[in-house]
């Protein structure tokens, strides 16, 4: 399954194969840093607003594709809130990987992670930061980095086939 997480409300791009799209449907609440998704209701966010099970969607997908406005080299608040609310894709326990600390797996899948960023004046520094962050995400999810792509506007995204 392909999991698309995007801030585009009327998202209607061509997507091949089985997929699920997470996009703004009413307001998303932001993470409050309580760690309930690790040690109260493991695997699920304690805030029930329709976005509490994104980590399960991540556990079931083989590819995760982010389509987001670029905010200074990272994703937009909607996409970020969805990501923050889904950290229970991994467990709270730490492990060491390539000499660095990361979290233990909860799900056995390997996510191929890519991101498509749009925005009028995405700078070279922002592109570099965006790549570093998405690579970092892939590492933390025990997944594979599958590229970052940049577009000058939402319109330019139109031809995109996912």
């Amino acid at each position: 399954m392909k999991l698309i997480v995007t801030d585009i409300e009327d998202f209607d791009f061509k997507i091949e194969g089985e997929h699920k799209v997470i996009n703004p449907q009413g307001n998303i609440k932001h993470c409050i840093g309580c760690f309930g998704c690790w040690a109260k209701t493991p695997g699920e966010c304690v805030i029930h607003d329709g976005y509490e099970r994104t980590s399960l969607d991540m556990g079931l997908c083989d590819e995760m594709i982010i389509v987001s406005e670029c905010y200074y080299g990272t994703v937009s608040p909607f996409v970020k809130a969805a990501q923050d609310r889904a950290i229970s894709y991994v467990q709270g326990d730490f492990i060491i990987k390539n000499g660095e600390m990361h979290h233990k797996h909860r799900y056995p899948n390997t996510i191929k992670l890519s991101a498509h960023f749009y925005g009028e004046d995405i700078t070279e520094d922002e592109k570099k930061t965006a790549k570093d962050i998405i690579e970092g995400n892939a590492e933390n999810f025990h997944g594979e980095f599958n590229g970052v792509y940049f577009y000058k506007s939402k319109d330019e995204l139109k031809g995109l086939k996912l």
């Binding site: 932001h30 990272t74 937009s76 970020k80 990501q83 730490f94 909860r106 995400n137 933390n140």
Partner: protein, 226 residues
Amino acid sequence: MTVALINASPKVKGSSSGILLNDLKECLGNKVDVEEICLRTSKITAEIIEKLKKADTWVVAFPLYVDSLPSHLLACLKQLEKMTWKKPNLNIYGIANCGFYEGNQAEPALNVLKNWCAKAGCAYKGSLGIGGGGAIAVSGNMSGKNSLRANIYKAMKKFADRIVKKEGEANKYATVAFPRFIYKIAAQNSWRKMIKANGGKTKDLNKRLDVELTDTSVNKRIVYEQ
């Protein structure tokens, strides 16, 4: 000179960001005036703006969330980018603390703050990236100087001096004053305590929403480095 100490952790109390800002406040002493601000939601209120306006330097302290900034802070920065009352050449410093042991895992997130400065017309002056945030959170009632925050406190002292002189430097990284394997075990214990306090069992910690709890084959297949 007025420094705004901005706590962008969404936690209402007991945040590591708050503890680190207290250390910074102590290090700044009476050399500067301080405005303390909390950014806990996605909206910059009129009250926050009034406080920010007084400052010629902002220190933004935040937790690392998924290798980046918490979503509400991104929303706040977007609003602040466009606000025209900001002083020209406002100095921006950051303090990113992260759950992982290595403070430099916060580097890309600090670059987001740096990129924001470029768009907002502010002067990025360098930051502290701090590891071991989980331990910092439980050390709030200890003095920074000679506790598990000792190394961090040393870095904070230098950081405070730079802030007073309005000096810029490359980001610096620090972590808690005990070995990584102890931090790892302490974290493990704290999750087990917390799940039990919440009425659950240790084995619930690796619960998957798609299979029965008894299927632990996933965890058995993976061998981790020590």
